[in-house]
């Protein structure tokens, strides 16, 4: 009888181990993601007319060609070159600007261009919360499906904050980064901030020659430096303030909010401001919304360069940007941002060039080159850490540090450009194919060489990466042509940045490196659990039997004992 039980247990164990051995012999197959399951966005924004890319003249303003697939609106360029007060209503209606957004008057020095420039900026929240539904308004994607909450200075607009009543997408003028501002040395500039936001803000003109206070203004009550503790009180919601200056020195400078600067700057209230050298008949592109190519460069820049680009690098912490998406009550947002958010524990997650991350940088922030050109690049780093921008295929030359010209005898030519937070560099990119300045035509990457800078929330390829693309390497819509001929469409899916797309699938037919499926049979953890469960169950039954059949058991024990004794006795007897 006991031998029978023993055999049963042995058989059970045998079956168990063999099934396990079979499971580890058969590993799961690779799963292939069907492209039909993905939501592909058009690589080029279909709403932007192709005609915008051509060189053209609007309102007498010469506008250079811009071969990228999302060029700046040429009517907008005409409006900000002439001033919204000096253009036809039809042109203005094409821009969406408020008629008082950029006012240009008075040629004081008689050199053929206006010298009083009034620029009106509003403060706009992007990707904020609404109490009405789960979703963000107005929506601005920095990459497919990536919508960090942000604040920007925006040119004063007219009408809706979204594209239309049905759409949640932001009006094209409301975007990251805060717009690039361009004025001339000697211009009497007024930057009028109309605080349309629910928090207080100011503007600090970093590097721009501006008086600390202007005593005639507001009875000397307010300064002009934007610092709430020392120069002026915070500009409260619904209020307006004028910042004035008449710069004596040119250069690539920086403006940003100085209220709770650690968060407000990181949220996006930061932009480039460029003081151009004074020249006769110098009608400037006062705003470069979204940065990138300057389609109407200044007279001084055209003296030395064939093209000009504004490149604004920024970085944002996901946890910070989510605060305005978690709460609607401004008091709760203030509590979280001002008192609970600890920037010393923060990490930056989103890295942008001109407000966008790869692949959207390819739509509008590529440097589009031709051989033997001299291209001026103005760069700003408004992120919280140093960046190290590397240009593939090119060594560029630093001509200006923080807006001040470097001694031309000591100019440095290199291929990594480090910028501390708030620093600016002016670069001369020479596309002469001499093996030093350029290695020839191509679709060359230029990117932050801190490797996280080429990720979007840790997902590569993303971040502030863009291209120096020669015209011969552009397709008909303005996207770079890859040498191997495959397209970039997988980057234009939300799923890619949701980490749901295996990276090497398109070239891995056999699926050596794709995602494995689920293993059949028990995995070791489940097995352990099952054994424990079974053991416990059996033990329970035994204990139950032991208690209920106590007498039987003791009788059995007694008989066993008797038998053993009997055996012993027998032996002894024998």
């Amino acid at each position: 009888m006991p031998i029978r039980y023993f055999m049963a247990i042995l058989a059970f164990c045998g079956i168990f181990t063999t099934t396990n051995a079979q499971a580890s012999l058969k590993l799961p197959a690779t799963i292939k993601v069907d492209p039909a399951a993905l939501e592909f966005e058009p690589m080029c924004d279909p709403k932007i007319p192709a005609s915008w890319r051509k060189a053209q003249v609007i309102e007498g303003v010469q506008i250079e060609a811009s071969e990228q697939c999302s060029p700046d609106n040429p009517y907008l360029i005409a409006a900000v070159v002439k001033g919204t007060n000096n253009i036809s209503m039809n042109t203005l209606m094409e821009t969406g600007l408020s008629p008082d957004a950029v006012i240009k008057t008075d040629d004081i020095d008689g050199d053929g261009d206006p010298d009083r420039i009034t620029i009106k900026l509003e403060v706009i929240e992007l990707n904020g919360r609404t109490p009405d539904f789960e979703g963000l308004v107005p929506q601005f994607e920095i990459a497919p499906g990536i919508t960090p909450g942000a604040w920007v200075f925006a040119p004063k607009t007219s009408g809706m904050s979204t594209e239309n009543f049905e759409s949640l997408r932001a009006n094209y003028l409301l975007r990251l980064p805060s717009p690039v501002i361009r004025v001339e040395v000697g211009d009497i500039v007024q930057i009028v901030v109309e605080n349309t936001h629910y928090f207080p803000h100011t503007i600090h003109l970093h590097g721009v020659d501006h008086p600390f206070s202007h005593h005639e203004y507001n009875g000397g009550k307010y300064g002009n430096d934007g610092v709430p503790q020392f120069s002026e009180l915070d500009l409260m919601p619904g209020q307006r303030r004028v910042y004035e200056f008449q710069a004596r020195q040119p250069g690539t400078m920086f403006y940003h909010c100085h209220v709770q600067t650690h968060t407000h700057l990181a949220m996006g209230l930061a932009g480039m401001i460029i003081i151009e050298e004074n020249r006769p008949n110098n009608w400037l592109q006062t705003l470069n919304v979204g940065g990138g190519k300057v389609r109407h460069p200044s007279v001084a820049v055209k003296e030395h360069y064939d093209q000009e680009y504004d490149l604004h690098y920024h970085a944002m912490d996901k946890e910070l940007t989510q605060i305005i998406q978690k709460y609607n009550d401004p008091r709760l947002i203030a509590r979280e941002m001002n008192r609970r958010y600890d920037m010393t524990d923060s990490t930056e997650d989103y890295f942008t060039l001109n407000g966008l991350s790869f692949p959207y940088t390819l739509r509008e922030s590529m440097i589009i080159a031709e051989p033997d050109q001299k291209i001026k690049l103005r760069m700003l780093n408004s992120g919280g850490e140093l960046v190290a921008i590397h240009t593939h295929g090119h060594h560029a030359t630093i001509t200006h540090y923080d807006g001040t010209e470097h001694n031309p005898m000591a100019w440095i030519t290199r291929d990594v450009f480090d910028m501390a937070p708030a620093q600016r560099l002016d670069l001369l990119l020479d596309t002469t194919n001499d093996g030093l300045h350029s290695y020839g035509e191509g679709a060359w990457l230029f990117h932050d060489h801190r490797e996280k800078g080429i990720t979007t929330d840790g997902m590569s390829e993303g971040g502030s990466m863009s291209m120096i693309a020669y015209k011969s390497y552009l397709d008909e819509v303005g996207m770079p042509i890859a040498a191997h001929g495959t397209d970039l469409s997988i980057y234009f899916t939300k799923e890619y940045y949701q980490r749901k797309l295996p990276i090497w699938q398109h070239m891995d037919e056999a699926g050596f490196l794709g995602p494995p499926g689920v293993r059949s049979g028990f995995n070791p953890e489940t097995k352990a659990t099952m054994i424990n469960l079974l053991g416990g169950f059996i033990a329970g039954i035994l204990i139950y039997l032991l208690i209920t059949r106590r007498q039987n058991a003791s009788a059995a024990m007694a008989s066993i004992a008797a038998k053993i004794k009997g055996l012993k006795g027998g032996k002894a007897n024998g």
């Binding site: 008629p99 919360r129 009408g159 979204t162 239309n164």
Partner: protein
Amino acid sequence: MVKYLFIALIGLTVSSTTAFAQNTADHSGHDKDHGEHSGHDHSSDDHSHDHSGHDMDHSEHDHDNDDHGGMDHGHDHPMDLPGEHGMLHHDHDHTDHHAHGEHHHHGDGHIMDHEGTHIMGQNFDKLPSSCSSISEDIEITVRAGRKYAKKFPGTAFAFDQQEWRVKPCSRITWNFVNEDKVRHQFMMHGLPRYLYPLGMFHLENTGPRTVTGTMIVPAADETYLVHCDIAQHMEKGMKAQLVVGKGGENLPSIPGLTPYVLNDIYEAEDLPKVSDKTGTGGKNVKPITQQITDFFNDNVPVSSLALIGLLFGFICAPLFARMVALRKKEASNTR
């Protein structure tokens, strides 16, 4: 010993019922709000000669009567205010702005002046197909600004009123008074598209300024959304509704009127208070009630769980009683 336990139990019951009462009070507040709405709905018939929701103060108009568009170029120019224009502009003459600033008509009742004052969807005389005639001519003044958000905690901008009630087929002249120094809008949606481009009637300006526009509402009982579409202005309080006739469904998240769809969570914060500083040994002896509340706050865990427990206890108590009774019965039976 039993006595003390009994007292403690009563204490627990009292404190938890207090919490319960607070909760129910909150709810009843909510319910009351709803009650008020339905009250409004029922009384909408006699509302037409009440006009409590309408500001009929004509003296407030600062727009020229002959300026049909209701725009006021010269005299309410914020840039003319001393000090507003800055030191470098004192001698600057604004006529060049004004020469340019004649207002522009775009058809479809769309008018805009040189400073972005905006009228869209203006309609003086085109009757909606559902109306045979204009039922009444009314004039409503709407004020917009930061200061109207004061009475609604958790908002930043608001209109002075959150609801207007009008008769079907009324012709309304809206005077939109923006009291802030930034842009605000009075944007109405959902109107018939054959009369109003995109179904919108829209007034917009940069304050302090007034803009006036006229429109005719259709005959159907309907509730129209009125809001400011500048980013986060509606979300942070600048939202209202126009109720025509008996109205339709209420819109959500109108300050003081309708609840949010998505709510924030509020929690107590440990912020410094004057009473902490004086302490118990200070001159200010706390009233006895304060001491009792403090005692229970500190010693009796009152939470929603306690409430549920209490409820459970109440439900189960009769069962226990019955079980005891049954036992006794069984005992007596066996005896």
